[in-house]
């Protein structure tokens, strides 16, 4: 067997699995989104437009807000960790990486429900009235908090990596001229780490857009809903593959833009 | 073991790394392949080792054509630039690896490893053997890498810039040791370097390469004193370069004219080494056998062994070394005619024997 053939033979089984169970389904998703009652039509998309345009905006809004919060917090926290250092805090921020999404969803729900543990604790101190407690779970805020909590770990890891790659000399130069910790973050670390930050953001944005288990568990029952939850309900309660796939196509479209960017940064480096 | 390559061609995509090289490496000798980075010298070495299949030509060891052989069947041993010592094995295991592959009995392995470590003068053999390569100094790692290559008694020893990662002092000392060791074991050795001083010091034969071709091959003295073209002259030694125009009987550099009887016509390059020229206060008297160029001395640096003067001649800055300081101001640079080399510009090939052409100036 020639080396070329050998390497193709080695590549074939894993490729087959990914093509069969990711790329074919992807194509069939595109195909089915145009099929309604057995014939080609745009009615699925019309239905998406009629019923779900608010949900699309909501999904984008929740994802963007979560992203801004995650990146903002990570930029500051990592600056602190890079310049001052705090082993305990650094370790703590890694914990959510290892907590599965479903667990985050459930944990947040138990914590943030109107009569969840947080409100119970706050009521003890007299801060809120349990007779009419504020609800964080089952609202957009609950989803945002859960997404931020889960993604913060990844963001801290990536941003801190980028910050650590910034040569100490640049910081010493800034310190030498009297820059405070905040100024060092704003003027040196952040601009120099910007490329990595953009890649990290692009990546996290798609994953937030596509988040399923967290909104499924902590999202409320009222519209608007996150897109993936809509997809799930369309299939499981209404057995409507056409509309579900049209919704899926909308989500691919958003992911595609981000993926293109991600791909470019990845392929710019020689592989 | 006599090593020859004939018409060797290697391409990376559209880049031609080896452009039909034909050259021999004398048996038992130390040959240095010298050239700037990207000239193809490492590609040639890796082709000899068998790491990269070539696109054309033959590689012959003695009477055996090894062109199609995989690396493990060639009987070469290589010392890598970063040593490529396996970090997960002890020094002993590193050196013993090749012997174990050859199913040498354990007792003999031990004896031969100790012997070769002794040969490369690593010192404290018993202590060093059990350590990991990462715990050794750069010089010691270099010796281990050499020992690992020598212990299998290769037909050909290949060394890829083996000293380039060491600091200047260690490099100087090891250079001498490598040469002595090579003379002692007498293995045909091919040594790649980009450092002309190192090539001249260490090798019996120097092959100068550029852009995938051999520019010049010969003894260190040949290469140094009789460069065959502008590239060779420029690459060896601190050289000054001036652009000029040659015509029958005269050579003009900017507004200055020098008498010239050589064969070059049109645009030409003038080359001379900083050590070959002298700078004197402005003096218009001509001297036979000396080319005189007028310029302005702009700066002077003290080098310890003497002074380096920076002189601007017709807009170009040249360096002239001397033992006595000369004050800034208008000066004359004097170059012995036989040390001033003139090449037609844009032609890598020498027009005639450059040594002769300068003499007729």
């Amino acid at each position: 067997m020639t080396p070329r053939l050998l390497s193709l033979a080695v590549a074939a089984p894993p490729l087959a699995i990914v093509v069969w169970l990711f790329f074919l389904p992807f194509l069939s998703s595109a195909h089915l989104s145009f099929i309604r009652d057995g014939e080609w039509s745009l009615r699925n998309y019309a239905l998406v437009w009629r019923l779900y345009k608010l949900d699309v905006l909501y999904t984008l809004g929740v994802s963007l807000l979560s992203l801004v919060l995650v990146i903002g917090i990570a930029a500051l926290v990592c600056g602190y960790l890079r310049l001052v250092g705090h082993r305990v805090v650094e370790f703590l921020f890694k914990v959510p990486l290892f907590v599965p999404f479903v667990v985050v969803g459930h944990g947040m729900r138990v914590l943030l429900a109107p009569r969840g543990t947080l409100n119970s604790a706050l009521a003890q101190v007299g801060l809120i009235d349990l007779g009419d407690p504020p609800s964080i779970a089952f609202t957009w805020a609950g989803i945002v908090i859960a997404l931020v909590w889960k993604n913060l770990a990844l963001a801290v890891l990536l941003v801190l990596g980028a910050y650590r790659a910034v040569d100490e000399a640049y910081l010493e130069a800034a310190r030498n001229l009297g820059a405070s910790t905040f100024r060092q973050i704003k003027d040196v670390l952040l601009p120099m780490a910007a490329p990595s930050l953009v890649v990290a953001s692009a990546f996290m944005f798609t994953s937030m857009l596509a988040s399923f288990s967290i909104p499924l568990m902590i999202g409320g029952g009222e519209p608007p809903q996150m897109l993936m939850v809509d997809v799930y309900y369309r299939i499981n309660y209404q057995d409507d593959l056409g509309t579900a796939n049209a919704l899926g196509m909308v989500s691919y479209l958003f992911a595609m833009g981000v993926a293109g960017y991600y791909l470019r940064t990845i392929t710019v480096r020689p592989v | 073991m006599d090593v020859r390559v004939e018409g060797l061609v290697k391409r990376y995509g559209r880049v031609v790394a080896l452009d039909g090289i034909t050259i021999g490496f004398p048996s038992g000798g130390m040959t240095a392949i010298l050239g700037p980075s990207g000239c193809g010298k490492t590609t040639l070495l890796r082709a000899l080792a068998g790491f990269n299949p070539v696109d054309g030509g033959r590689i012959v060891f003695g009477a055996e054509d090894v062109t199609g052989l995989p690396p493990q069947a060639r009987g070469t041993a290589m010392v890598f630039q970063q040593y490529a010592l396996w970090p997960h094995m002890s020094v002993f295991d590193n050196v013993a690896y090749g012997l174990r592959l050859r199913k040498v009995p354990a007792a003999e392995v031990r004896a031969r490893v100790e012997e070769v470590l002794h040969l490369v003068e690593i010192g404290q053999i018993a202590g060093v053997m059990q350590r990991r390569p990462g715990e050794l100094s750069g010089g010691q790692q270099q010796r281990v890498a050499l020992a690992r290559a020598l212990v299998v008694e290769p037909r050909v020893l290949l060394m890829d810039e083996p000293l380039s990662n060491l600091d200047a002092k260690v490099r100087q000392r090891l250079r001498a040791e490598v040469r002595r060791l090579q003379k002692r074991v007498g293995i045909t050795t091919i040594y790649v370097t980009h450092d002309q001083e190192e090539a001249l010091a260490i090798a019996d034969t120097v092959i100068l390469m550029n852009a995938g071709r051999v520019v010049q091959a010969g003894s260190p003295q040949d290469i140094y004193f009789r460069p065959e073209n502008a590239f060779a002259a420029e690459f060896l030694g601190v050289s000054n370069q001036l652009a000029g125009t040659a015509e029958a009987g005269s050579l003009s550099v900017g507004a200055q004219r020098l008498p010239y009887t050589g064969p070059v016509r049109g645009s030409a390059t003038l080359l001379f080494k900083a050590t070959d020229a002298t700078v004197i206060p402005d003096d218009l008297t001509t001297e036979s056998g000396q080319a005189l160029l007028r310029g302005t001395l702009e700066e002077r640096l003290f080098l310890g062994s003497g002074y380096r003067h920076y002189v601007r001649i017709e807009g170009e800055s040249v360096m002239v070394d001397g033992t006595e300081p000369v004050e800034a101001g208008p000066v004359t640079v004097r170059v012995p005619v036989e040390k001033l080399k003139i090449y037609a510009m844009a032609s890598p090939e020498p027009v005639t024997d450059p040594a002769r052409s300068t003499r007729t100036l």
Binding site: R50, L51, G220, G221, E222, Y237, Q238 | S90
Partner: protein
């Protein structure tokens, strides 16, 4: 020197051997009766912890593998997909032997010939008299199903927060308006209790219960829906995410009242997970209820054993002991055969909040399936 890679290789090899040994054990084909239950965990827990051990004891050599397919109709949908795929693939023996499903998937199951017309073959067929044992959402299911139990949507309320519970929709609306956000239901997406509430609302608003539930299908009477749905949506209520969410929020005092399934509420009380003071009420003109059906797939691998299992569950003895006495649910077969085996205390509990006559008058059916589908979309669009 090669210790690490040896360890690695050894670990991988050990894992492979373990797998080779364990695989057959995992997918071993004994006489296993696969019972798949749609619905919340309580539904398949009942199969797994109560019916299965008892049945295994009575039938030595049989192992009952009781699994759940997920909450709500999504669970029934999974079962349909599962058997349908085996039919499409031309498999001779299907791996679902008994399924517990909702009414909504029956037309598809029967039209696609996915389930057997098995019920007349079993001994308890004669004891089943309920109309929705023969008709599901206007679709003829006679012989294809045996109801495991009947359930009913009612209003559950916290008597500390609702001093005078409403007894009609009019009173309910008044209460909602004076207690904003304290009434909760789960829309139409999160489970059938919300659907039942919405349906009851439309029955009340349109007054056309007979037409919706008995047919024939006539799309023109849906014209009154948008206005009714808009009115429903304008009420200051809390939307919950599912049947269980409504119950939990009532339990935790987040809402004071909401539509729930009787069986689920009683189940939670029995388990000690529901505040015992929570009460229920069936208001006029009423809410729909529905049974859970036991079906046997057409080519079930263990068809005769499956029939035996259904017969076992629908036997008066088990219906009395488990469905009524243990769970406090309404039996699937005719009550007169069952209630004689039930203690007075259990009988009293069964009818404590919802007396039999209320059940007869206000226990309604879901609309015909075309109306049902239209209702889902209408709710989302208005």
């Amino acid at each position: 020197m090669m210790r690490k890679s040896t360890t690695f290789t050894t670990t991988v090899a050990t894992l492979l051997v373990t797998l080779a040994l364990a695989w057959p054990g995992l997918s071993a084909a004994q006489t296993t009766l696969n019972v798949v239950t749609a619905g919340d965990t309580n539904m398949h827990d009942l199969q797994r912890t109560v019916f299965a051990p008892e049945f295994e004891k009575r039938n030595p050599g049989v192992k009952v593998n009781a699994v759940g397919s997920g909450p709500g109709e999504a669970g029934s949908r999974v079962i349909v997909n599962k058997v349908k795929s085996q039919k499409d693939a031309g498999v001779a023996k299907w791996d679902v032997d008994v399924a517990v499903v909702h009414q909504i998937v029956m037309p598809e199951l029967i039209q696609q010939k996915l389930v057997a017309r098995y019920a007349p073959e079993i001994g308890t067929w004669k004891l089943m008299t309920a109309p929705d044992g023969r008709n599901a959402l206007g679709f003829d299911v006679e012989g294809y199903v045996m109801p495991m139990f009947h359930s009913q949507v009612v209003l559950a309320y916290n008597p500390e927060m609702v001093k005078a519970p409403p007894s009609t929709f009019e009173e309910l609306v008044a209460w909602i308006k004076s207690n904003p956000k304290k009434f909760g239901y789960n829309g139409v997406k999160g489970g059938m209790s919300g659907v039942a509430f919405t349906t009851g609302w439309l029955y009340w608003k349109t007054g056309q219960y007979e037409k919706f539930a008995r047919g024939p299908y006539d799309k023109s009477i849906e014209a009154a829906w948008p206005a009714a749905i808009k009115e429903l949506k304008s009420l200051p209520v809390t939307l919950t995410t599912g049947n269980n969410d409504t119950l939990d929020r009532i339990n935790r005092g987040e809402i004071a009242m909401g539509p729930v399934w009787v069986d689920m509420l009683i189940d939670l009380k029995n388990q000690g997970r529901m505040d015992p003071k929570i009460r229920m009420k069936l208001i006029a003109p009423g809410f729909p209820g529905q049974p859970m059906y036991l079906v046997v797939p057409q080519n079930a691998a263990n068809g005769s054993l499956a029939r035996k299992y259904v017969e076992f569950i629908t036997s008066p003895e088990i219906q009395a002991r488990v469905i009524v006495e243990r769970n406090g649910w309404y039996p699937g077969i005719d009550g007169q055969h069952v209630l004689t085996h039930v203690s007075d205390k259990a009988k009293a509990l069964l009818f404590q909040d919802v007396p039999p006559d209320a059940l007869t008058r206000h226990g309604l059916s879901f609309p015909l399936s075309p109306y049902f589908k239209d209702l889902m979309t209408a709710y989302e669009e208005n």
